[in-house]
Amino acid sequence: MNKPLLSGVLIIGIFTLIAILAPLISPYDPSVIDQNNLLMPPSSKHLLGTDSLGRDILSRMIYGARISLSIGLIAVGIATIIGLILGSLAGFYGGWIDTLIMRFVDIMLCFPTFFLILAVVAILEPSIFNIMVIIGLTSWMGITRLVRAEILSLKEREFIQAERAIGASSFRIITGHLIPNAMGPVLVSATLGIAGAILLESALSFLGLGVQPPTPSWGNILIESKSTLGVAWWITVFPGLAILTAILGFNFIAEGLRKILG
C-alpha cells in the first residue's frame, strides 16, 4: 500500500483528465468577455467567480490546467533527453569528454535559474514554445549528474562486461542496457522536475513573462490578484490552490517512486 504513490497518481490523474477533457467540461469559453458580470464572487452561475473582464475563472482554470501541465511535461522531457545524452556520454566514455561535459554543468549551475530564464525570455519574446524550451534548457544539469553517476557504477558490473565480451557496440550497451537500468532515479528526478517546471511557469506568467493573456494559465490568472487585493479573494485563492495541489501531487508521486526503488 504505497500511500504517497497512490495519492499522487490520483491527484495528477484528475488534473490530467480535466486537462484532456477541457472543451467538454468547461462551462464557458475561457476568453469570452462578459461586461455584465465583472468581478463577480463565486455563484451558481460562475462556480469560481469571474475576473475583471468578466471571464469565468473555472473555465480559465480548466484550460489553464492544459497549458501548465503540458509546459511542465515538455520542459522536463527536453531536460531529461539532454540529461540522458550528456550524462551517458560523460559516464561511459570518461576522459576529456567527461571533464568537458561536467565543466559545462558546473558553469551552468552557477547561474541562478530564475535570472537565466528571465534574461533569455527578455531576449526572445515570451511564448508557450519558448518557455518550454527555456525551462528545459535550464533544468538538465541535475539529471546529467545523476545519469553519469548511475552509469559509472553500472559500467563495471558483470552483465555489462559480458556485453562487451560478446562484442556489442557501445551504442547498444548504452541505450539497451545502461540507460534502462539508470532510469529509476531519473524518473524520480523528472517527476520532481515537472513540479518545479509548473512552479517556474506560473511564476513567470505571474510576472507577465510567461503565458500571455488571453491564453489562460494558473500563473497569469494570478496577475490580477495584485490589483484586486482585498476585493476579489477568489481570483487569488483558486489558482494558487491548483498550483499547490499539482505540485503536492507530483511530490507524492516522486516520494512513492522513491519508496519503490528503495
Partner: protein, 317 residues
Amino acid sequence: MGIIPLLLGITVISFIIIHLAPGKPTSLQQALNPKVSQEVRLRLEKLYGLDKPLRIQYINWLHKLVKFDFGRSFGDDRPVVDKILERIPVTLTVNILSLLFIIIVAIPLGVKSAVKPNHAFDKFVTIFVFIGFAVPTFWLALLLMNLFGIKLGWLPISGIKSLDFEYFSLGQKIMDYLRHLILPIFVSSLGGLAGISRYMRSSMIEALGQPYIYTARAKGLTENTIIYKHALRNAILPIVTILGLSIPGLLGGSVIFESIFALPGIGRLFYEAVMMRDYPLIMAEVVLGAVLTMLGNLIADISYAYVDPRIRYRKQA
C-alpha cells in the same frame, strides 16, 4: 584552482546569451526613433563596437567587466554599476535577516523532531515541511498581504518606508523598517525553513545514532547535555555548507517577492530591466548572480573544511 575557468565559462555563456537576440542590441534604440537613418545606425554600432567580429567584442566586454565597467543603462543612461550598488543594501538586509530567521527557527525544529522521531511533533513538522516545499512563494505573499495588510491592517504591504517616514524619530524609523520587512522575510524564508529543518532532522538522527552517544549515556550524562552539547555540535556542521549553497535560490526568489512587495532591491531592479529590455543591466545582473553563486559555493566548501575539526586536524598532520 578551478575558479578561473569557471569565471571564464560564466562570461562566455553570458555573452552568448546576450547575442541570441535576433536584432542587434541597438535595434531597440532605433525602433524608438524610426527616422534614424542607415548612417546613424552604423555610427551607433561603431560606438558600441558592434561592427567588430564577435570574439573581439567578447574580449572588449571582458576587459570592461574586469574593471567593473558594466556600461550604461539603456533606461536612464546611468552607469549600471551605480544602479546595482544602490540597491544592494535592501536585498542584502532582507536575505541576511531571512537566513537568521531560518537558522533560529529551523534548527530547533529539526532537533526536536529528531529527538522523538515519528511522534506527534515530528509528524506535524513533516506535514508543514511538505506543504512549505509545495507552496508557490508569490501566492503565499499575496495571501499574506491580503490577510495581514488589508483585512487586519497590521502590516504595510509595499515599499520599505511609510509616507511620513521623514518625521519619525530614530526608534520609530527602525520600527517602520522592520514592519515593512516582516512579510517579505517570512515569505522568502519559507522554502529554506522547510529544507533546513528537514536536513537538521536527518543530520541529528544520524548523530544520535553514533557510538559516542552510547558512551555518553553510559557515563550518565543528562539527556539535555547529550543532545545539545554533543550530538548537536556534530549535526550542525553541514549547515554552513547548505547556507552557502542556498544563495542562488535567494537571488532568484528575491526577484519575485521584491516585485510583489515593491522593495527597492537588486531583484526588482532585474525585473524592471527585463521589462524594459535594458540589456546592459540585464547582462550585469546575470554575470553578478553567477559570480555570487560561485562565491557562495566556494565559501560553503571552505567553511565546511574549516568548521569540521576532523578535517582541520588532518590537514595539520
